[in-house]
């Protein structure tokens, strides 16, 4: 139970009209509103991802808007119906982060000499690959629900926030006041810090004020949402903070004392240290920790599967009927893998069958590993290392494909399979988050799982379509290109996606990484050493710390610091005022802090879609804060 209301007068709940008959859950109204809201949010966030370089999940907005549409306009009266609506909407929106991080890289690379052909990829095949990837990701992650939510009871702070919104109609006035009051405060603070802050990323450099050397990186991310996430994670988030402190308060100071001259110089630039050292080490650690974690959790996973099989055997008990059949999911994975072979084979003319099989099999295995990593990271901290996992996927695929294909074909084939993997990972984390919300409101998992499939196919069609519209709208005519005024600086993408008009920061970064990988420049040793360290922590028997410490290495320290404030606050409140107080007062407030900032971020994105000409700059300023938060592209 997420909440309790001890000592509250009964009338705080208000009078409730008694209704008879079936309780609406998976209805056409929920599906249609979910598709509509999902499309709206996906377009907004996909556009924002290209324009501003951030992507956010839309569950909170879908829940709030669904509340307004289903309850306000359509006079519907079901918390669970709104839960299905937000599940479908966020499944549609899952494509915006998955695709906008990967596919635009092809457009950007196509503007480099010798790679012009990469933009002529097979579009229906790409859409199909994304849908197939999304389905494989879901089929892989759904059986983990029992392990992660029922057994491990991972907190999923975003899921708690969505559940708080969903339950607000019945939670009583005082809780609603706490939730929406905190949301208002969070939105105001967010607006203030982004509009009046010194730069796009609202941060407070306390270290500079106190005269700390730059290596300690004592910079706080100004975001009440981050504090809220830390509060909901509680002491479980301790190791995430520890990972960041190990980097900047232990390793960096030692390097500044004993490292070479070049290293000492680098240590004073924490951003460069993160990009050069801590992030690649953290990616390696995440992989090692995930593999170690899976080995350690294998008996638990086996027990979960066994319990599920037992429940589903012979027609199934009530609990067994609540889950999608394991055999169906296994068939979906096998079918998806075969489909990936076909898609890889068709991706470029020179692709051989053995190469396609190798890419598809490794891609499928990686979907499983990365799905587990991301689901656990989101479950413990609300942050998803999607970009790191995609990076590894693309690296593996390029190394395989380059053994038998030329550079352009290597890139196209790797990106088609890579986009499928990216979608799979994105859907996996969204599914688990939604299943947590569902658990808290009493939804039937099978219905939510079907709802996720119902939404997942639509996103790729919408987002890839939008991408082509934007690429064409930002591409000048042949006459304009020969105009004297059309002169670009060297190294700049002249038009379309990747240009100043549509910078696509994440895809641009991926494009440069793809170039580096094709040239053989991969920090493989640091990945390997990091993987060993992550593996050690995962098998240490100290539950879940491998992934947490790894994520602390991977994420910007400013976020880690602010998040740690939330964790410490929770521990203090638990100890001084009691856990009941934390749950009665703290959780609605923390959920509100998340909701307020997230809503404003999506609101700016929406504004940018409909009033792009006048508001782009303002959005760029205002949305920077969300950039590193719910997106996972940190």
């Amino acid at each position: 139970m997420a909440t309790g209301n001890s000592g509250k007068p009964a009338n705080d709940y208000g009078e409730i009209l008694v209704r008879h008959g079936p309780y609406p859950e998976f209805t056409w109204a929920a599906v249609l509103v979910g598709w509509f809201l999902g499309a709206l949010i996906a377009i907004s966030i996909a556009y924002a991802a290209l324009k501003l370089g951030f992507s956010i999940e839309g569950s909170e907005l879908a829940a709030i808007l669904g509340w307004g549409i289903l309850r306000g306009l359509m006079r519907r009266t079901s918390i669970l119906e709104n839960n299905i609506n937000q599940t479908i909407a966020s499944a549609v929106n899952g494509a915006s982060s998955g695709i906008m991080f990967s596919v635009p890289a092809l457009f950007i690379l196509s503007k480099s000499p010798g790679l012009e052909s990469v933009k002529d990829f097979n579009v229906p095949l790409m859409v199909f690959a994304c849908i197939a990837g999304a389905f494989i990701g879901l089929a892989f992650v759904i059986p983990l629900r029992k392990q992660m939510i029922d057994f491990q009871r991972l907190p999923y702070p975003g899921g708690i926030a969505v559940a708080a919104i969903l339950k607000s109609p019945g939670a009583g006035i005082s809780k609603s006041v706490l939730l929406f009051g905190a949301a208002l405060v969070s939105a105001i603070v967010y607006l203030f810090t982004t509009q009046f802050g010194a730069n796009d990323h609202p941060e407070y450099d306390l270290g500079n004020v106190l005269g700390f050397p730059g290596r300690y990186n004592l910079v706080f991310f100004l975001s009440l949402m981050t504090i809220g996430v830390g509060f909901l994670s509680g002491k479980g988030g301790f190791w995430f903070g520890a990972g960041g402190f190990i980097c900047y308060w232990f390793l960096s100071p030692l390097l500044s004392l004993y490292g070479g001259a070049d290293v000492q110089h680098l240590v004073e630039s924490p951003g460069a240290m993160r990009n050069e050292i801590y992030r690649p080490t953290g990616i390696g650690m995440l992989i090692g920790a995930a593999v170690g974690g899976m080995i350690m959790a294998f008996p638990l996973i086996r027990s979960a599967m066994s319990a599920l099989r037992k429940a589903q055997a012979g027609g199934g008990s009530e609990a067994g009927q609540d889950e999608m059949p394991i055999k169906l999911l296994a068939a979906a994975v096998a079918g998806g893998a075969i489909l990936l072979v076909f898609l890889a084979r068709q991706s470029v003319p020179d692709m051989t069958f053995p190469l396609a099989i190798l890419m598809a099999v490794l891609g499928t295995v990686w979907i499983w590993i990365a799905g587990v990593i991301v689901a656990e990271c989101v479950g413990r901290t609300n942050w998803s290392p999607l970009s790191g996992m995609t990076l590894i996927a693309v690296t593996i695929l390029i190394v395989i494909a380059h053994s038998g294909l030329d550079k352009p074909q290597t890139i196209v084939s790797s990106m088609i399979v890579g986009a499928a993997i990216c979608l799979a990972i994105s859907q996996a984390s969204d599914m688990m988050l939604d299943l947590k919300s569902g658990y808290l409101v009493g939804a039937i998992p099978r219905r939510q799982q079907i709802a996720q499939f119902v939404g997942a196919w639509l996103g790729p069609i919408i987002v890839i379509g939008l991408m082509f519209v934007l690429e064409r709208s930002a591409t000048p005519s042949a006459a304009e290109m020969t105009d004297e005024a059309f002169v670009m600086a060297e190294g700049e993408v002249p038009y379309g996606i990747g240009s100043k008009e549509l910078p696509a920061a994440q895809a641009t970064a991926l494009a440069s990484v793809i170039n580096a990988i094709v040239d053989g420049n991969v920090p493989a040793w640091r990945y390997s050493a990091g993987a060993g360290l992550g593996f050690l922590l995962a098998v240490s028997g100290l539950g879940g710390i491998g992934v947490m410490v790894a994520l602390g290495f991977y994420m910007p320290f400013s976020i880690v610091l602010t998040y740690t404030i939330g964790c410490i606050l929770r521990m203090i409140v638990d100890k001084s005022a009691g856990r009941r107080f934390s749950e009665e007062i703290g959780i609605p407030v923390a959920a509100g802090l998340i909701v307020g900032e997230a809503l404003l971020g999506v609101g700016f994105a929406l504004k940018n879609v409909f009033f792009a000409e006048t508001s782009g700059e303002a959005v760029a300023m205002a949305s920077g804060g969300v950039q590193s938060l719910l997106n996972g592209f940190c």
């Binding site: 057994f151 050069e276 040793w525 240490s540 028997g541």
Partner: protein, 275 residues
């Protein structure tokens, strides 16, 4: 004692391994140099105004010593102006050239501008693997000690047994209160159902969940999985009762009270059968 030694070895080994991983720090390309970007604000005159313009300088951060680059005179701090005659917008433009490729660097040190031709070799690891290996070995030893120490402590303290007794109390409370809710639900208004769940069931759900790991320690994973499957299904059913009551759907609430009660009763039966 073993646990403390294990913790020290585990974390000492981990931190030492992390140091070995980052100490060499930079990913050296086959050119034996490491480049980085530095953002600078340059003041320029435009018309009658003096304005600041942001620029990116590509700086040599490290040079492997000994290496061809070192012998040819490149040093940390040098600013790379052009590579093969092309101006650089960022260090990424140099990338990681394939082994055997020769590139001409034009660089600036102080006021002087110089040129150097470098041929790329194979990229190499800067991580000190012997150091790293020793650290990992220490950690593995620490993990072994930690695990055996924990097992010994669990055997001696009897802590799990006491906690299990407490778990049984919470589960019994849940079953009894769910049964009472089932019996009285027909007479209750939806808001009273909400209040009953929040006041009579929420705490026991939370306390039982917090102590669930004791089931694994005492009875093993199979029992844990079976108990938690029913417990979670029961809790989810009661959560659904809460939602249905908040929306006023009393039939649904009634059906799921029965269902939640069944699951909680089954969880208790499994736990008791192992006692």
């Amino acid at each position: 004692m073993r646990s403390i030694a294990g913790q020290i070895l585990l974390w000492g080994g981990f931190l030492s391994g992390a140091l070995a991983t980052v100490f060499s720090t930079l990913l050296w390309s086959g050119l034996d140099i490491h480049l980085t970007d530095r953002k600078v604000e340059t003041e320029i005159v435009e018309g009658l105004d003096r304005i600041t313009k942001p620029e990116v300088h590509v700086i040599v951060h490290g040079v492997r010593n000994p290496s061809l680059a070192w012998e040819m005179g490149l040093r940390p701090g040098d600013r790379i102006l052009r590579v093969d005659g092309r101006e650089l917008s960022s260090s990424a433009a140099v990338g990681g050239p394939e082994a055997g490729k020769t590139m001409e660097f034009e660089y600036q040190r102080g006021a002087a501008t110089r040129r150097v031709r470098l041929t790329a070799g194979e990229p190499w690891s800067t991580i000190s693997w012997p150091w790293y290996g020793l650290s990992v070995a220490a950690s593995i030893l620490g993990i072994g000690l930690l695990r055996s120490g924990k097992r010994a402590a669990a055997r001696q303290s009897g802590h799990s047994a006491a906690s299990l007794k407490q778990l049984r109390v919470h589960l019994s409370n849940l079953v009894n209160n769910a049964r009472k809710l089932h019996e009285e639900h027909a007479k209750m208004k939806p808001r009273e159902t909400l209040q009953y769940i929040d006041e009579r069931l929420a705490d026991d759900f939370r306390e039982f969940a917090d102590g669930r790991d004791n089931i694994t320690r005492e009875y093993g994973l199979e029992t844990f999985a079976e108990v938690m499957t029913h417990f979670a299904a029961g809790e989810r059913a009661i959560n659904r009762v809460w939602s249905a009551s908040a929306d006023g759907y009393v039939d649904e609430a009634s059906a799921y009270i029965q269902r939640g009660l069944n699951h909680l009763t089954e969880a208790r039966r499994v736990l008791e059968s192992n006692a």
